[in-house]
Symmetry: C2
Subunit: 212 residues, 2 copies
């Protein structure tokens, strides 16, 4: 992430300062996830995190600096989750199905949507200078899927006709679009359908009909 003028970077803080900054950030991320960027103001955040206005201003002098930090925080969580052992670098269809099952069973999906995608959608048209951070986060996310699919192809689990980049974009788009449609419908079905069908499409490239 590019440092932003005026932001206190965590590495320059004392242990206590880092803890305060982390507490503010965690509450900001939760408030923004539930109420959106526009529905989250300094007063709500000060109360939730139990900090004064001057403390808040010390760590995050502008709304942009706070939103940038929340994007970095949410991106870190999403990417760490996807890079975890559970999904074994997405080198099998089972891993993709396990991943889909996780989100289909995640009740906040149809209330608050994707923690990163819903934030991106809300602010993409604003003047906040957060574009590079968002683009970098989504690029890394898609690359996790792309690298997994490329590996499956190298291992002979998928046929050579499988295009890793295209299929990774399908999976991530189905996820983001499914999250939006689930929120709008207040029903998980659109997300479930979109992810199931996207992974079924991956399966059409499998070299063996069973598990790969």
């Amino acid at each position: 992430m590019t440092p932003t003028a005026g932001v206190r970077e965590p590495h320059a803080l004392t242990g206590r300062g880092q803890a305060t900054r982390a507490r503010i950030l965690e509450h900001a991320a939760e408030l923004i996830y539930v109420h959106g960027v526009h529905g989250t103001n300094n007063e709500l955040l000060r109360r939730a995190a139990g900090v004064s206005g001057s403390q808040l201003n010390h760590y995050f002098p502008t709304k942009e600096s706070l939103v940038l930090a929340v994007i970095a925080w949410q991106a870190e969580r999403v990417l760490t989750f996807h890079r975890g052992e559970r999904f074994a670098c997405f080198d099998s269809l089972d891993a993709f199905r396990d991943w889909a099952t996780h989100y289909i069973g995640y009740e906040r999906a149809y209330r608050e949507g994707c923690s990163l995608g819903s934030l991106a959608s809300e602010i993409i048209k604003t003047d906040l200078d957060v574009h590079d951070e968002l683009a970098s986060a989504f690029d890394q996310w898609r690359d996790i899927f792309r690298d997994g699919i490329a590996r499956m192809r190298r291992l002979g689990r998928l046929r050579a006709g499988a295009d890793p980049e295209q299929l990774a974009n399908l999976v991530l788009a189905a996820f983001q679009g499914g999250m939006l449609l689930a929120q709008v419908a207040r029903d998980i079905a659109p997300l479930r359908d979109a992810l199931t069908a996207a992974i079924d499409h991956l399966q059409t490239f499998a070299t063996s009909p069973g598990d790969v």
Copy 2:
């Protein structure tokens, strides 16, 4: 659409009143599409539409009433476009490919995204009481795809294993998610990939390998 208290419904207006209301609405839709709901204020709208504050207030007494009308206006445009002769009720894969080609070639896709989806994403977490209108619009949109796929199946163009509702959700989710990813990446590639792969998946259910 459910009438909202205090809104002047178009049918109760004189011809001149209807024209003024339509002009305000068209400018509001354009401003919201470019700048978002939060980036559009009364002053911008008054200037763009060339109306006074009291005129604006007469037709749209609250921001909610304006946003509701813009949702209805954008939904009407999107649904009319999809129901047009060009796509022949989406009863062939060619129609789906033609539709995808249209949006892949639409330069505003990666600047402003989907006129309805980007609006929905921006306001879904706000207190604006617009949920039913959004849900109804997306339901109708998905049903256009679902009915087309069901018809292809009845006509024997797709195998019985094709699930119209699931595949319609895939196509719409790929579209919405692809639009978001294209906006974030400032590149049409994620939308192109997602739509191409979603329709390739439809194609896997085709009963004949050629055009259906």
